[in-house]
């Protein structure tokens, strides 16, 4: 068959004039041209989970257009929304500084700078209803027969179980932070979880009596678990299960990092991968390779300050290479990073800076080392060798 005959065939299918044989032929060719698969082209495509969410968000936007009342505006990863938000804040900032006649900022400067992230997240309830937490006023967000969900004035989400009411059917909610967002939540059992940017957790509204199981779908989170010997607290991650034995710990499982890192600060936890289980002592870190998660778990001494710097509002780079540093920057400032010079990715840096600073200040700090040079173009950061 040639291209023209294939075009004709498609035309016939469209018009509905194709014979049975032609329908079959068309189908067979399309099976060859567009074979579906469950394999993932990791090399050319982004992280699978990222694509799934992106597509879903996009779908929500069009569905919302057709059915205005059904869907709460879903601004999570949408680049447009983020951009609008940034533009609005920049405009606001600019107007403000003009009114004040401070004269300190030129338009060019203000337009160039990239503001840091903040308390932003989306809560998806078990019935599919979504609440944009950055917009939601504080107070009671949800009140059902067995739970109450509160948003405090300082941007913390609290789940409270109402006594006595036990339901057989446990409802699961999902909390997701966008790039440039962080959030923290107190679960129904009093355990606290801090979510770093671009992170998603799924948890039951109330816990059963035998086990408390939550899922860290992607990203990074810090846990302070209220120990209960009768109901172990388990975190299912993409590559394993972390079980607390009364504890403070951090799990980093970003798909673009090389390994899933679990760091124990206090207490005791076990980390289970596909075919191994290790118990960590405080100060230790367990690494499961993202690509080869059947490999033995590597246990080493951890830099605790570095592991939870994000939770304390800091970037802390302790002999960290530039590529890893820029991944953190892109997650917090919601920027894309490209390298004009690949060798600079391996440059090592040491230092710390507050995450409340604008991107330019962080970048200036890195530039001062004299090894690299950045060019900022909108939300794109181009890294060059000096």
């Amino acid at each position: 068959m040639d291209k023209v005959s294939l075009q004709d065939l498609i035309e016939k299918i469209d018009k509905g004039t194709a014979t049975e044989h032609e329908l079959g032929l068309y189908n067979a060719y399309m099976n060859r041209i567009a074979p579906g698969s469950t394999d993932w082209d990791q090399f050319n495509l982004d992280d699978q989970e990222q694509v799934r969410l992106e597509l879903w968000d996009q779908l929500q936007v069009v569905m919302q257009k057709t059915q205005p009342r059904r869907f709460v505006l879903w601004t999570r990863i949408s680049g447009v929304a983020a951009l609008v938000l940034i533009c609005l804040s920049i405009t606001g900032y600019f107007l403000f500084s003009t009114i004040n006649q401070s004269g300190k900022h030129s338009l060019a400067q203000v337009n160039q700078d990239i503001l840091p992230g903040g308390n932003k997240a989306i809560l998806t309830l078990s019935n599919g209803h979504r609440i944009v937490l950055s917009d939601a006023k504080h107070g009671v967000l949800v009140s059902k027969n067995n739970i109450r969900v509160n948003k405090n004035s300082d941007g913390q989400l609290t789940y409270e179980a109402k006594n006595g009411d036990h339901v057989s059917n446990i409802a699961y909610d999902t909390l997701t932070t966008p790039t440039g967002g962080i959030y923290n939540i107190v679960l129904a059992d009093g355990s606290k979880i801090w979510l770093n940017s671009a992170t998603s957790i799924r948890f039951p509204e109330i816990f059963g009596s035998k086990e408390r199981k939550i899922e860290l779908i992607s990203g990074e989170a810090y846990f302070e678990v209220i120990h209960n010997p009768f109901a172990p607290f388990r975190v299912a991650t993409p590559h394993g299960i972390v079980e607390d034995l009364g504890t403070h710990f951090n799990i980093n499982t970003y798909g673009d990092e090389s390994a899933e890192k679990t760091t124990l600060l206090e207490g005791s936890i076990s980390v289970k991968s596909k075919n191994q289980k290790v118990v960590l002592q405080p100060g230790q870190q367990a690494l499961i390779d993202n690509k080869r998660d059947a490999d033995p778990i590597a246990v080493s001494a951890a830099d605790l300050d570095e592991a939870i710097a994000w939770k304390n509002g800091l970037f802390l780079f302790n002999n960290e290479d530039l590529e890893s540093i820029m991944r953190k920057i892109s997650r917090w400032y919601n920027v894309k990073v490209v390298y004009q010079d690949q060798a600079v990715k391996r440059e090592i840096f040491l230092g710390s800076v507050s995450k409340l600073k604008n991107a330019s200040e962080v970048i200036n700090m890195l530039e001062k080392t004299g090894k690299i040079h950045f060019e900022v173009n909108g939300s794109l950061i181009i890294v060059k060798a000096k």
Binding site: L6, I10, G16, M30, I33, W56, M63, T66, V80
Partner: protein, 188 residues
Amino acid sequence: MSVYSKYTEQELLSLLKAGDEIAFTEIYNRHWKFLFTAAYNALRHKADSMDVCQTIFLWIWENRLQINVKTSLQGYLYTAAKYKIANLLRQGKIRETLLDDVLTTDIVAEEIKDLEIKELKNFIKQLIEELPEKCREVFLLSRDEHLSHRQISERLGISEKTVDDHITRALKKLRIPLSRMATIFLSF
């Protein structure tokens, strides 16, 4: 995992028909990857592939009451995807090298699967059923009774121009046009 993850396809479809959004989410989660890779294998373009999937899932949601799955939900969605991709092929969105490769290989008789043909027929039938009544009537007269536009205009007592319009509209609708919306969102 939610209870929905345990539901069978039939159960999910019944819930979908009742307008259950979580059932829709579950269907999406089960099938998006297969459809996306199908589109991506043909188009090698992330945004276009996402567009294809978006159109199909949106279509499923909007037409949930009419959906009539003959084989499996995956088969049904895949049929829709192939149909959509075929139309992108006409716009030259498919890699030339892929087309050359595929077209030079011989398709053997066994590959022509009855069940898939049934699904395709069923799918096209459904697309036609969705057309507005007059438009459908005109389209079927043209297709099944092979009447010319003039003959149709005489039989239905409408102008030839109106017949033309109905046919154009029908064909356009059958091609499930790309949503512009998505393109705008993806260009960022």
